[in-house]
């Protein structure tokens, strides 16, 4: 695939009116470049001139644009230049938004909810500056962004097709290999007779000998020829099956290895691009900012005495990517030392701390719910059950899940049982209810 008009410079004021052009042809090829507006070689059409006049009127009526323009070029007169700057100026928002989303998606960590403020502001001002100093850079950026969108969509489609074909072929090859095995064993057993038929074979053998003696040489030669033909046929069949077996094995190995091979190629490509990111100041700034934001966010959630907030901290922590990889382009994970290391400490260290906080908070909440429960307070029991069921349905309390989670709640309730005074009527009611809950927990059902 190549950029057509690769060397075509962006339009200059006064030249034949050109417009940026990106298209995918019938063969799926991506073409990009500039194309003339109006009949080529005859200058702009009447319609084009009218449209240009309208565009100029719009530019001159754009107050904000005019302020920016006059502050840079107080004496500007060229209508073509004004138009050019205005076109770039009008694209700033769109190009800026796309560029920002590209940067967010590809450069900053997904955990960072927004780009560093000075980065956003800086890019906006930078684009505005470029619209007046080098408008062609804005047009070029727009083309690059379009190319990026189109190509990533195309790659996704191709990758889907690639996986679909592999998925279709692998089971077919397995079935093929099974059929082949059947045919091979059928060929091996052909000519052998079950032992039950042995007496009949002996009889036929006797008959054959008699006939051979009586028929003399002709009959014998006929039989030998038949045997030879049969042998040849079997040999041919054996060779044919062997060839098929080799082919199937070859396809199987190709279909199995082509996926990892593709992944390897992707990784290799990404590694080649890694250098540009390493130690690059804007990225480092963004990385530091991302780290600081993530740290603040998780610490504030972890400080809360609410179980729900701690669970949100867990979700946030789960959402943070491991720090050793950088999402480079669709499907590719690239090892990189420049990847924003979010959060400051390792995920494991934060997880251990969060586990303790979650367990302590659930123990406190269970304790409070049991204390509020009593013979006169049915709501208290209801609240306790609701709390346990909510955690069980989520099936997650930090690192605890499934049976480990049930056992943890069971043990908390068991410890609480020691606090009950069996001589106290209220405590006896609580004890029997907590006991029922423990039974349900042990039985593996909801409470």
């Amino acid at each position: 695939m190549e950029r057509i008009s690769e060397n075509t410079p962006p339009p200059k004021p006064g030249e034949l009116e050109m417009k940026a052009h990106v298209a995918v042809d019938a063969a799926g090829e991506l073409h990009m470049g500039y194309e003339p507006v109006g009949p080529q070689g005859y200058g702009p059409s009447k319609e084009s001139v009218k449209a240009q006049e309208k565009e100029l009127e719009k530019a001159l009526n754009d107050q904000k644009f005019n302020e920016d323009l006059r502050s840079r070029y107080p004496d500007i007169e060229s209508q073509e230049s004004i138009l050019q700057y205005h076109r770039a100026y009008e694209q700033i928002d769109d190009v800026g938004a796309q560029l920002m989303s590209f940067a967010q998606e590809r450069i900053f960590d997904a955990a960072l909810e927004q780009e560093p403020d000075d980065f956003v502001e800086g890019m906006r001002s930078g684009l505005r500056e470029l619209a007046f100093s080098h408008p062609e850079i804005i047009f070029d950026l727009d083309l690059d962004l379009q190319e990026h969108h189109l190509r990533t969509a195309k790659l996704r489609e191709m990758e889907d097709e690639f996986s679909a074909i592999r998925k279709q072929l692998l089971p077919r090859l397995e079935t093929g290999a099974a059929i082949l095995s059947q045919q091979e064993s059928a060929l091996k057993s052909a000519g052998r007779f079950p032992s039950a038929l042995q007496p009949a074979l002996n009889f036929l053998g006797g008959m054959f000998n008699t006939l051979r003696n009586k028929g003399g040489r002709n009959f014998q030669s006929m039989l030998e020829k038949g045997r030879e033909r049969l042998g040849r046929h079997r040999e041919e069949r054996r060779t044919h099956l062997r060839a098929q077996r080799e082919k199937i094995e070859e396809y199987q190995s190709h279909a199995e290895s082509i996926g990892p091979l593709l992944q390897m190629q992707k990784k290799k490509l990404g590694e080649g691009a890694r250098h540009i990111l390493e130690g690059f100041p804007p990225l480092k700034e963004a990385a530091d900012h991302a780290r600081e934001e993530a740290r603040k966010r998780i610490l504030s959630l972890m400080k809360s005495p609410e179980l729900k907030d701690l669970e949100r901290a867990q979700e946030y922590l789960d959402g943070l990517k491991d720090n050793e990889t950088l999402q480079f382009f669709e499907g590719l994970e690239l090892d990189s030392t420049v990847r924003p290391t979010v959060p400051l400490r390792s995920k494991e260290a934060i997880q251990s701390e969060l586990d303790l906080l979650l367990q302590a908070q659930l123990t406190t909440d269970l304790d409070e719910a049991i204390n509020h429960m009593g013979s006169s307070n049915k709501d208290g029991f209801h609240q306790l059950r609701e709390l346990i069921n909510r955690v069980l349905i989520k099936d997650r309390l930090g690192s605890k899940q499934g049976d480990k989670l049930r056992t943890f709640i069971f043990n908390v309730l068991k410890l609480k049982m020691h606090d009950f005074d069996q001589n106290n009527q209220e405590d006896r009611v609580k004890s029997s209810r907590v006991n029922a809950l423990m039974g349900a927990l042990k039985g593996g059902s909801s409470v």
């Binding site: 695939m1 500056e129 690639f162 072929l169 090859l173 490509l269 100041p281």
Partner: protein
């Protein structure tokens, strides 16, 4: 370097001289900059990265295209082989019946 040489950086990017483009940008960013100047460098950086990603994607598309062609060729041959084997299997089954 006091001003951001967008043109020069653009030319370096076209030639895929990433390291040089990066060096120019880094030197520029090391100096005392206004928000606009810094912003222009950010734009240049993200554009550099975007061009690089496009470049990688283009190469990847070629690889993927070749592999896909290979796989499609395999599929065609496997389907033909499969058909032959199914027929042979049918023959074997008919032989067994007769």
């Amino acid at each position: 370097m006091n001003t951001l040489e967008e043109k020069k950086i653009g030319a370096l990017l076209e030639e895929q001289k990433w390291e040089e483009a990066k060096r120019l940008l880094s030197t520029y960013l090391d100096s005392d900059l206004s928000l606009e100047e810094k912003g222009a460098a950010y734009v240049a950086f993200v554009s550099t990265y975007l061009k690089m990603v496009n470049q990688i994607n283009e190469q990847y598309e070629l690889i993927l295209e070749n592999m896909l062609t290979d796989l499609k060729g395999d599929r065609q041959e496997i389907l033909a082989l499969d058909e032959k084997m199914q027929l042979a299997d049918l023959d074997t089954a008919i032989d067994k019946l007769s």
